[in-house]
């Protein structure tokens, strides 16, 4: 996806919620990764960074 205002992860998420409003309520439970490393809402992005939002990992109780 191309984003116009991609200062931080928060900016990307806000833009994403414009396109997919259904993801907005998930915000508080999401984990964030930038370029395959855990990041946070304030992480500053640069061109071509890969940002991922995903739910808590779920190995579960074995």
């Amino acid at each position: 996806m191309d984003f116009h205002d991609t200062g931080t992860v928060t900016g990307v998420f806000e833009e994403l919620t414009l396109q997919c409003p259904e993801v907005a309520p998930l915000r508080s439970s999401l984990l964030i990764a930038v370029n395959y490393e855990y990041a946070n809402w304030n992480t500053i992005l640069k061109d071509n960074d890969e940002v991922a939002f995903f739910p808590p990992v779920s190995g579960g109780s074995l």
Partner: protein, 143 residues
């Protein structure tokens, strides 16, 4: 050996990969698919990974365990895709000079994998399905 695989886990190959002449103990942890969860009968599971990051996290966990603990070799193999009851979803093997270190490193490794590696599982029941969304005790902190 650190890997993700779509194929059944080859236990012997993974255990062989941590063998070395200095080892006096090899501990393994074998995570298998259970036939029940949340009071329901489970028919099978589906594991999905954020592949590149999952592998990177597994490598980073292995690296830190090798630094922190007195162990010799460590292997982590996680299976993804559809798994039947009784099949292995993860195998961890650790070799060390003596048993205490191998047991402890094996335990620490599985705990960290469950906390940090982006792999999710979906449970299928006779009458439905459920993405397991959270692992209580997760230590990943974003802020």
């Amino acid at each position: 050996m650190i890997s993700l695989t779509n194929e059944p886990i080859n236990h012997a190959e993974i255990v062989n990969s941590v063998e070395c002449p200095e080892a006096g103990a090899i501990a393994t942890f074998d995570g298998v698919v259970r036939n029940n969860a949340r009071g329901k009968i489970v028919t099978h599971l589906f594991y999905e990974a954020y592949d590149g990051m999952a592998l990177k996290e597994m490598e980073s966990i292995a690296e830190s365990i090798l630094k922190e603990k007195s162990i010799l070799r460590l292997a982590i193999v996680h299976r993804i895709g559809k798994l039947e009851i009784g099949e292995s979803s993860i195998l961890i093997a650790v070799s060390s000079g003596h048993r205490a270190e191998a047991f402890q490193a094996c335990r620490t490794t599985i705990d960290r994998v469950k906390e940090r590696v982006p792999i999710w599982k979906k449970e299928y029941y006779v009458d439905g399905e459920f993405w397991v969304e959270s692992y209580s005790g997760s230590s990943v902190k974003l802020d």
